[in-house]
């Protein structure tokens, strides 16, 4: 696979040549890197938004025989494909981000957990890694830095959305069902094979070489106050130019729609199936941690779309993709889907739907992991924001339509 398109962006899609980031990083001390990352205020790009420096500092502070850097390339959120683009077009950024992470936290082993659906990318990644080994960017005494050894392996998933959750991912790496673990302890302490492990998203790692090259402060000048830097957006749905874009945090939905050539837009799903559905009246809202945070999935719906069908598609997804271990998520999602079908079949009552909304709120706080905690989001936001459309739906006969 090659770069097929010209891409433009201030960080990830800016110019970069292989090895720059690692070379600079190795001239710095581990602490310098940790503080540079801290200054950047970079947050995890998978969606949860945990500060990267905190994760790394905890992993760096842990004392253990082995430590691991894991690149979470299991993006499975509906409407997300940015990691695919990074891995295909900018693998050097991701791999170098891992090497720098390894240097910073004291790990020798890197693992890319590549989702099974991306198996076709694997070969090119392996080749790239082999080239990096030849260039001494991987292996022993990297770039002649005495005592710094690091290598990267690729581990293929086998199609389970839940494995994007970091502890489920680790379980999967260990040869188990991808079921989320109880936390605490956290992976930075007790991760892969019980060792301290930093699990970072592809995009997060991709930002690192640029942050090291240009400094954390530079990165922090981009974006908004609480959302530093840029973000990759996977845009799909009803628009002329579905693609991956790099924009600064703080972009409004209106601006975004304009850039991708979306017309007659009724709703935008921000954050994929587990995100929220924003109606037209709120298109001036900003994508940022201050307003609407996201892992970058943007799905656009124009006026012809039936939002109930959209919701049904999402809920079917969760019913299948729940790992099935905890009660709120396993049965809760089934109940929410049943609720959607009740609406579809005109068998609902508002009092029952209110019960389901209440249940959704319990799922958000009582589920074991992020999947069940976020799966009711679209149910709650679509039923709230599109109630006029959804519930006037059935009045057809009396209106003579």
């Amino acid at each position: 696979m090659e770069k097929t398109k010209e891409r433009n962006g201030k960080v990830l899609f800016s110019n970069y040549s292989l090895g720059e980031g690692v070379r600079k990083a190795l001239s710095l001390s581990r602490d310098d890197i940790l503080f540079e990352v801290k200054d950047s205020k970079l947050k995890g790009r998978g969606g949860a938004g945990f500060p990267v420096s905190t994760k790394w500092m905890l992993a760096a502070a842990a004392i253990a025989e082995e430590k691991y850097v894991i690149c979470n390339a299991d993006e499975g959120e509906p409407g997300t494909f940015k990691d695919r683009v990074l891995l295909v077009e900018y693998p050097e950024l991701v791999f170098e981000g891992m090497i720098i992470a390894g240097y910073a936290i004291g790990a020798k082993n890197g693992i890319v957990y590549l989702r099974g659906e991306y198996e076709y990318i694997r070969k090119s990644l392996e080749d790239f890694l082999e080239q990096m080994r030849k260039d001494n960017l991987l292996g022993k005494n990297i770039l002649n830095k005495e005592g710094f050894d690091f290598d990267i392996k690729i581990f293929l998933g086998s199609a389970a959305y839940i494995c994007g959750e970091e502890t489920a991912l680790i379980e999967s790496l260990e040869g188990n069902r991808g079921e989320a673990r109880n936390r605490p302890p956290y992976p930075v302490n007790t991760g892969f094979n019980g060792m301290p492990t930093s699990v970072n998203n592809v995009e997060t790692l991709g930002c690192i070489p640029h942050i090291i090259l240009n400094g954390g402060e530079w990165y922090n000048t981009l974006g908004t106050e609480k959302s530093s830097g840029t973000k990759l957006f996977s845009v799909s749905g009803d628009c002329e130019k579905p693609d991956v874009y790099e924009w600064e945090w703080g972009i409004t939905i209106n601006e975004l729609l304009e850039k991708v050539g979306a017309k007659n837009t009724k709703a935008v799903q921000v954050g994929g199936a587990s995100g929220i559905c924003v109606p037209k009246s709120q298109f001036d809202r900003k994508i940022s941690y201050e307003d609407i945070p996201t892992g970058g999935s943007i799905i656009i719906f124009d006026e012809n779309r039936d939002m109930l069908k959209v919701l049904k598609n999402f809920m079917e997804f969760f019913v299948e993709e729940s790992c099935g271990q905890c009660t709120p998520c396993r049965i809760g999602n089934t109940k929410l889907l049943e609720g959607v079908e009740m609406i579809e079949n005109e068998e609902y009552t508002f009092s029952y739907l209110n019960k389901l909304k209440d249940l959704g709120k319990t799922m958000q706080v009582a589920s074991k992991c992020g999947l069940g905690q976020s799966s009711p989001n679209s149910f709650l936001s679509i039923l709230e924001n599109f109630k006029d459309e959804i519930f006037s739906h059935e009045a057809g006969v009396e209106n003579g339509k």
Partner: protein, 638 residues
Amino acid sequence: MENKKNGRAPVSQKPHRIEKPEHPEQIGGSVRIQINEKELVVPLGTTILEACRDNQIHVPTLCHHDDLCIAGVCRVCVVEVENMRTLQASCAFPITAPIKINTATPMVRKARKHIIDLLLSEHYGECYSCFRNNNCELQTLAKEYGVDHYNFGHIEKPKYKVDTSSFSVVRDMDKCVLCKRCIRTCIDLQEVGVLEAVGRGDETHIGTFLDKQLSDVICINCGQCINRCPTGALRANDPRDEIWEAIDNPKKHVVIQTAPSPRAAIGEEFGLEAGHSMTGELNTAMRRIGFDKVFDTNFTADLTIMEEGTELILRLYNALVKGEDANKVPQFTSCSPGWVKYLEHFYPEYIDNLSSAKSPQQMFGAVIKTLYAQEANIDPADIVTVAVMPCSAKKFECNRPEMVDSGFKDVDYGLTTRELAQMIKETGIHLPELPKSEFDDPFGNASGAGLIFGATGGVMEAALRTVVELVTGGKVEDLFENANITPLRGFEGIRYVELPIAEVGEVPEMYKRYFDTWDWLKGATLKVAVAHGTANAKKVMEDIKAGGKFSECHFIEFMGCPGGCLGGGGQPIPTNATIRAKRAEAIYAEDEGLPIRKSHENPHIGYIYENFLTDGPCGHKSHELLHTTYTKRGEYIA
């Protein structure tokens, strides 16, 4: 190479239970926390649930079980931890920082109610047609949270077929709440590995390999999963209907034998605290139910000791003196059918080490349908033998095709403690109020040695009480105070004891046809070991395979269940370490109060060898009736 043979639970979930500081009172060993505004100090690493329980704060649980590793899946035990966005499962949250916990906020209450509602919506069946009615953790939770209707509907049709293929364990997955206790029991506690979660999302269920029926996979029938199932999803294969039918049939002579463990536990089914022995009351109850004779399995436990002890001596003689069959030492006990099947599957190459002596249950069946039938002048075809056992595997054992040496099925039905309690209740009896009565003759007398078979280490202790006296001619009491061989007792997973034989005595008459002196044992050290629960058995077996210290043993007692028979899969539910310890106390206390405490001193045993098995222990006749063979089953699932 890293090999996670021992333990499947995620590594992150393991340290919680064990890694508590040795000295919590020292600096850094404890954390100051608040639960419901109450200030508390707890050892570092204590889970929120433990902290609550230690301070009499009730938190409901469902997937949590004291015997098992942490799961954190049912979410019933969620609590609020200040400054955390989501609720936390208290069973799975180790306290390592000063946190403030609230166990009953509106959010918590609502979440728990929702979770119970969700579980009920998928829980097929009605409480009144369930054997766990009134002893069901889901039902208790529903009551605790005042469930008076189904908030999210209720499943109307079964999704699964009830699996009744096994002689021992019945699986009704429509009642399963996916707490995974059975998985954690089967894979982690017992290390057998029949059950796992299968599928994903709404299709998740507990299944076997390829979702085969239980009789087609490697289940050892131990029933430990039944003991830990919170609902009626797992139960024993219940023969009550057939037994009632036999009792009600005037032509049938229905004989019941009771093992030592049921009497130590059955009181629990009638609301008594664990640890009340009910031997006398139980005898009365069984007569009132309508059993024609009530016998004591301990009698054939004594017989087992004679046979198995003699077999041991002969094996040692063959190996040490004749130099034959050295590989048949150590001898393994064979009275636990769960263990026997475990060995047949996982270590078939060692079946020659298993004592060929039948278990007390099966010896009794054979004796009843031969000797007893003859003496009482009853056609054995009209005799129905029932065995009250703490065990689900005994149901399988009595159905083994080779167990027909009397010319009939030696034992017709294995009945668990729970099922017998049910029969007593159906008779309208409240067990604790009954007068006591004795066992029936001619097998009424049993020794304390037979009784302690119920506890882990008991078979070994009983055997040593006899073997030591037969060999040395001295008294066990001279070696162990009051004949209590305490190093063999307790709940340590594996115990190892060495017993030097300094002096030898006269060879008893019954052994004179084999040898006429014990000199070959003089100065020897008898090495014995005890393991309970198949996970511990596995450790011992792996050690033997590797030529470790257990391969040097002469005799090893293996019990399939943790705690031995008193913790068996047919015992009252619930079970935990405290309950098992109390049952053991009851058994040992009763032993100490008995006039005869050694198998070879039981006069009825003498009688049986004088009049019936006239060629002595391990003689031709006893081999025909009281010994058996085993099958190399292996691990492959066809």
